[in-house]
Each structure stands twice: as structure tokens, then as C-alpha cells.
């Protein structure tokens, strides 16, 4: 899976991103879009690098293939689940599948006006997402309690920070976070 993901990421890096605007933030004045990568060659390159018949299925938009970075993120979180499961088998630390599912649910709730975050897994097994843009740094962490916490630090001279904890994440909560999350959109 790792080699396939690397091969695919390499491919994506060579594609021209197509920025789209859609979703919950369309009325909020936030002006940054999730990047989609459009190509007609994904299936062919993926198969040849992986060295076997491709099982990859991508959604189709018009005449080209479109791969949403969100799918890659979900795949990485799923891989983290495997790491946590193996770790649990090795040292007996509890493994909670519900945490993986909860994080995937959170990813799917991220409004499309917000850049796709990167995943992280702490040594203690805590799952998180982070954004590092020109304008701000932010991380969203799934705490052991099953609730989320969000930290945002602006990169202007004042380095203003926002920290919210004990968040029960829902789409409406994300909408209410439109203003702080909007800081992630580069001017």
C-alpha cells in the first residue's frame, strides 16, 4: 500500500491542480478551494509503477480522471489504524477502531473551501490532522475522550492563537468554525 501511495503521490505531483469552489463555505466569503488533480493517465501509471493490474478506481469528471486528495487522506488514516492495531497486538495497548472511524468521519465533514490537511499519529496513538499554509498553522486532534480539539496560530506578526477543546464535531460545528478556519486560506 505504501509503495502504491508513494507512486500515486509522485504522479499527482506532476499533475496540474484544478481548483474548484464548492460546499459550505460558498457564502462565507472564504476564497480557497480544495485541490483536485485531473489527468487521463492515472490508471496506466498507477498500474505500471505498482507492477500489477491496477485495482484503483477514481471518480470521473467529464472526460478526465479526478482524484480527490481527501481520498488519499482517508487512506492514510486507515493505514494508521493498521499501525495502531499492530501496536496493540505487540504491547497490549488498547486499540479503538471507533477512533479511526471518527477521524474519517471528521475528514469527510471538512468543508470543501478548506485546504486538505495532512494526517499525523502520535507515539501515544493520538490521531490528528494539521494544516500548514502561508497564513496559518492549525491542528485538529482527536482526544482519547472521543472529542476534538482545534488549535490555530496565525503567521502574521502578532501570532494570534485560537484554541478550542471538547468539540463534538459535526458539520454545523465546522460551519461555526468558518472564521478561524478561514485563516488557513492564503491570500
Amino acid at each position: 500500500m505504501l509503495m502504491e501511495t508513494i507512486a500515486f503521490a509522485t504522479l499527482l505531483a506532476s499533475q496540474k491542480p484544478v481548483t474548484k469552489m464548492e460546499g459550505l463555505f460558498s457564502n462565507s466569503g472564504i476564497n480557497c478551494g480544495r485541490q483536485f488533480f485531473e489527468t487521463t493517465d492515472i490508471s496506466h501509471v498507477y498500474t505500471s509503477v505498482a507492477g500489477r493490474q491496477g485495482s484503483f478506481v477514481a471518480p470521473v469528471l467529464n472526460s478526465g480522471w479526478v482524484y480527490d486528495q481527501q481520498d488519499s487522506l482517508v487512506s492514510q488514516i486507515t493505514d494508521y489504524g493498521e499501525v495502531l492495531k499492530a501496536r496493540s497486538a505487540a504491547d497490549g495497548r488498547p486499540y479503538d477502531l471507533a477512533q479511526i472511524q471518527k477521524m474519517i468521519g471528521a475528514i469527510k465533514m471538512i468543508p470543501s473551501g478548506i485546504p486538505t490537511p495532512n494526517p499525523m499519529l502520535s507515539d501515544s496513538g493520538e490521531l490528528g490532522l494539521y494544516w500548514d499554509t502561508e497564513s496559518a498553522f492549525a491542528d485538529l486532534v482527536l482526544e482519547a475522550s472521543g472529542r476534538f480539539s482545534l488549535f490555530i496560530r496565525q503567521k502574521d506578526g502578532a501570532s494570534k492563537e485560537t484554541f478550542l477543546e471538547d468539540i463534538d464535531l459535526t458539520e454545523s460545528v465546522f460551519e461555526s468554525l468558518a472564521e478561524p478556519l478561514g485563516l488557513l486560506c492564503d491570500a
Binding site: 492514510q76 499501525v83 495532512n118 501515544s124 500548514d132
Partner: protein, 185 residues
């Protein structure tokens, strides 16, 4: 080598007591004098307290610290500041090549006993830079000379503000400062 006895040195007493505690930073933050303890040696194996001019080496592993897909440092590379202490080696007491060799061996052991892990490389930081990380005018990090017999250069970087918001701020500041200073092995 320092001559303080355990009775005179609460810092050493604390770190001996919590040597295996994976959450010792939490206990550290219950100690009123924790910042002053930087001027006391934390281990009888230490060559001395960590001077602010010292260069420290942090070994980085994939997948926890480094993202091979984006070739970037993850903020989680610094998570240990709030639980067991962020392990660093003092370069004047252990060269970077030796630290990397030890890191490779550590990754191999972890992969065999727990989950796959590989050595990525390292970054270096000045002790004074780490000590200057602050939030709302309050210093966030302290460095203790937690030497062990097999590694006298070992030190721990620990949060000294018991606050989740401060931890996230310190982690973000460290990530921003060192993300472009990765050195692959």
C-alpha cells in the same frame, strides 16, 4: 561529575523516580521548582547541566515524525515534550553520526518488537532556541540532562506549562522553526 547528593538535588531525585514513567512531564509540572531544576544535574551519568549555547540533535523516525509522501516534518515529531520528554543528544558529548547509528538500531528494535519504523534523519537545535519558546510571555520548555549509562549525552526537553493550549502552541512553534531544517540520514 557533580557532587550533589540525592538528598540535596530534588531534580535528580525526581528524574530517578520517574525514569520509566511515560508521562513524567505531567508529574514534572506538579513540581513548583521545575524551571530552577535546569541548574541542577538530573543524572549521575551526566557530564553536567545543559548550557544554552549547546547544540542538540533530535533523531527523526518515519512514520511518526516524518511524512514520506510530502517529505515534510510532522508536528507530532515534538509530541514527547508533553508526555515522556523529548529525547535529544548533546552534540558535544555524542557526535551526530553516532546518534544516527544509535537511532538506526533503535528503529530496528522497535520494528521487530512493535510496529514498522525507520530512521529518517535528524535536526539540530540550539538549547537557547528551545528555551526561548514562549506563549503569552511564559516560557514553555526546559531542558534537563537526563543522561543514562549507555548515553551520557541524553537530555530531555519538557513542557513546563501544564496547559494543552500552551503545548499546542509550543509544538506549532517548534514545527515552524525546524520544518525546513531536516537532514536526511
Amino acid at each position: 561529575m557533580h557532587s550533589e547528593t540525592v538528598a540535596q538535588n530534588p531534580c535528580r531525585t525526581f528524574f530517578q523516580l520517574h525514569e520509566l514513567n511515560q508521562d513524567k512531564v505531567k508529574a514534572l509540572n506538579e513540581q513548583e521548582d521545575r524551571l530552577n531544576w535546569e541548574s541542577l544535574s538530573a543524572s549521575s551519568h551526566s557530564p553536567g547541566i545543559v548550557d544554552s549555547g549547546e547544540v542538540l540533535c533530535r533523531i527523526l523516525f518515519d512514520p511518526i515524525h516524518f511524512d514520506p509522501l510530502t517529505s515534510t516534518l510532522k508536528p507530532s515529531a515534538f509530541d514527547d515534550i508533553c508526555n515522556k520528554g523529548l529525547s535529544v543528544n548533546r552534540v558535544k558529548h555524542r557526535g551526530i553520526a553516532e546518534s544516527l547509528a544509535a537511532g538506526a538500531a533503535q528503529a530496528e528494535t522497535a520494528s521487530r518488537l512493535r510496529t514498522p519504523r525507520s530512521l529518517y534523519g535528524h535536526l539540530v537545535a540550539l538549547a537557547s532556541e528551545l528555551r526561548s519558546v514562549a506563549r503569552e510571555g511564559q516560557r514553555c520548555l526546559a531542558i534537563y540532562d537526563t543522561a543514562i549509562p549507555e548515553n551520557p549525552s541524553h537530555a530531555d526537553v519538557c513542557m513546563v506549562v501544564p496547559d494543552r493550549a500552551a503545548f499546542r502552541s509550543a509544538r506549532a512553534q517548534l514545527h515552524d522553526k525546524y520544518k525546513s531544517q531536516l537532514v536526511p540520514a
